[in-house]
């Protein structure tokens, strides 16, 4: 079979072998740290039992990491593989260029979509609209005909402390994007811009709204269109419970040492075909063929985070989303 990946990685890792010396070390370590096949005294049985209990707990910790909508605990899917960093470009590392790229993208006006290229990798930053208060967010979502929901009202002890709505680019608007040109703020970094058509300005892919009470306690509401398959971080000491909240397909509450989070999933709207790329990756480098990939957005995941509200108060808040 022609498999250049196997050939390349086998050759690159060819010096790494499980030889007899390493096998012997493994076996010795196991002998030293595990009970052998020999008669043991009663006290050792007790000690072994304790070890097994501790071992079982440790083993359970291994599988904490991610929880899905069904409440299944599964190993996390974090970025765990090494990331290739291209060679320095004109004295600035690719890592620094990526950081500059995100800064540059974040400073663009909301009606413009910008992509950034560092060497052969592309990323985009979808436009965001800042809102001045909760009512403005409600109004914009309503006027845009968005499937995103918001609560009727925020608990009165909390004041608005900032927020933004993010936009998506529907595939139907691809042809209507207006080419703005390219910029190169640093050697090795290229920015490429498009103006969104006015009709795309009401297409919201999510929001993030912050509230704070007089004691500095936080309430954060977040929504994000997604293609399903969401999962949530689960850390040692967290506890998770499934909830039933009217208006949502599924819901979970996570009790964490840092606060509570309620996750709720909304489905049942007409799926949206949108384009997105929010990380650096290789793309076709032609002006007319910008590297946007279509994806189907069929769910909204809501996250309510609070440092001081009880689980009941957060559930009640989620129940008044509409």
């Amino acid at each position: 079979m022609n498999n250049p990946i196997k050939l390349a990685f086998d050759r690159r890792f060819s010096a790494i072998e499980m030889d007899e010396t390493r096998l012997e070390k493994l076996s010795q370590a196991a002998s030293a740290k595990t009970p052998g096949a020999r008669p043991i005294k009663r006290a050792l049985v007790l000690a072994l039992s304790l070890l097994l209990v501790i071992g079982a707990a440790y083993s359970a910790d291994l599988f904490l990491g991610i929880i899905d909508w069904q409440g299944n605990e599964i190993p996390p899917e974090t970025e765990v593989m090494p990331t290739w960093t291209p060679n320095d470009t004109a004295g600035i590392s690719a890592e620094a260029l990526e950081s500059l790229a995100y800064e540059a993208l974040g400073s663009k006006p909301p009606e413009e979509l910008w992509l950034a290229r560092v060497e052969n990798s592309w990323t985009s930053y979808f436009p965001k609209i800042r809102v001045n208060d909760f009512e403005q967010a409600q109004k914009l979502l309503r006027e845009g005909g968005s499937p995103l929901m918001l609560p009727d009202h925020i608990p009165p002890e909390y004041a608005f402390n900032g927020g933004e709505l993010s936009l998506y680019v529907g595939t139907e608007y691809h042809e209507a994007l207006t080419w703005l040109g390219e910029e190169s703020p640093e050697p090795g970094l290229t920015l490429r811009g498009y103006r969104l058509p006015p009709e795309a300005m009401g297409d919201f892919s999510g929001y993030l709204l912050h509230f704070v009470n007089k004691n500095g306690e936080t309430l954060r509401l977040e929504a994000r269109l997604s293609g399903g398959g969401e999962d949530f971080g689960l850390w040692q000491g967290d506890s998770c419970q499934a909830l039933e909240i009217p208006g949502f397909q599924r819901a979970l509450i996570l009790e964490r040492s840092s606060g509570r989070q309620v996750f709720a999933q909304q489905t049942g709207f007409v799926p949206i075909s949108a384009c997105g790329r929010d990380y650096f990756t290789r793309g076709e480098d032609t002006p007319e063929n910008y590297p946007l990939e279509p994806e189907i957005l069929s769910d909204v995941t809501y996250t309510l985070y609070a440092t001081a509200l009880s689980g009941e108060e957060m559930t009640a808040l989620a129940a008044q989303f509409k």
Binding site: M1, N2, N3, P4, I5, K6, L7, A8, F9, D10, R11, R12, F13, S14, A15, I16, E17, M18, R22, L23, K25, L26, S27, A29, A30, K33, T34, P35, G36, A37, R38, P39, I40, L52, G55, S59, L62, F63, G65, I74, P75, P76, E77, T78, E79, V80, M81, P82, T83, W84, T85, S93, E95, N120, S121, G229, Y279, T281, R282, E284
Partner: protein, 180 residues
């Protein structure tokens, strides 16, 4: 310990030693890729060995023993990467800290390595488990705790991204069923 229990312990030890004799290189290379450091990779494989040994009686046969060991190894590497010490390390990493190859690496190999390592992590992980480690989709799903459908999707997207690099690419366009 009864004679029966002692016998079971001994047979478990023999099974695990045979497993690591057969799969040890694969686990060690995978750990080296995850951790970019040989000393850490050896620690991770040793930790894997001990966990497999301690939990051998709890192995429920949801996969074959080798896939289970790989799952334990991957989770061990992920745990190590999550440690405060590891997070504090410089993030711009490469394979440069690993031992020099024992056989020559061609220019084409370099391009493949670079392209694969440039993929987003979730695509890269699935791609390497399949095309490098030769694991089928069902067992990748088990090892990573994701659905089989997600494995196929990620493989497909990873292949699409690598297409410009790997013209002529793979003879098998669907994940094969070779097992681990």
């Amino acid at each position: 310990m009864t004679d029966k229990a002692a016998g079971e312990t001994e047979s478990a030890r023999e099974a695990i030693e045979a497993l690591f004799r057969a799969q040890g290189t694969r686990l060690l290379r995978l750990a080296a890729l995850y951790l970019e450091d040989m000393a850490l990779a050896e620690d991770a494989v040793q930790e894997t060995y001990l966990k497999v040994y301690k939990n051998f009686s709890a192995f429920r046969g949801e996969s074959d023993l080798a896939t289970w060991a790989m799952r334990v190894c991957i989770n061990t590497c992920k745990d190590m990467r999550r440690s405060a010490w590891f997070r504090g390390r410089k993030q711009a990493v490469s394979l440069d800290s690993l031992p020099e190859p024992a056989v020559p690496v061609t220019q084409e190999d370099q391009e493949v390595l670079r392209a694969v390592l440039a993929l987003p992590g979730k695509y890269r992980e699935v791609l390497l488990l399949h095309y490098w480690q030769g694991i089928d989709a069902r067992n990748i799903a088990y090892a990573l705790g994701i659905s089989e459908a997600a494995v196929y999707t990620r493989l497909s997207r990873a292949r699409a991204r690598l297409k410009p690099i790997l013209e002529g690419g793979f003879e098998d366009e669907q994940p094969h069923q070779a097992g681990i």
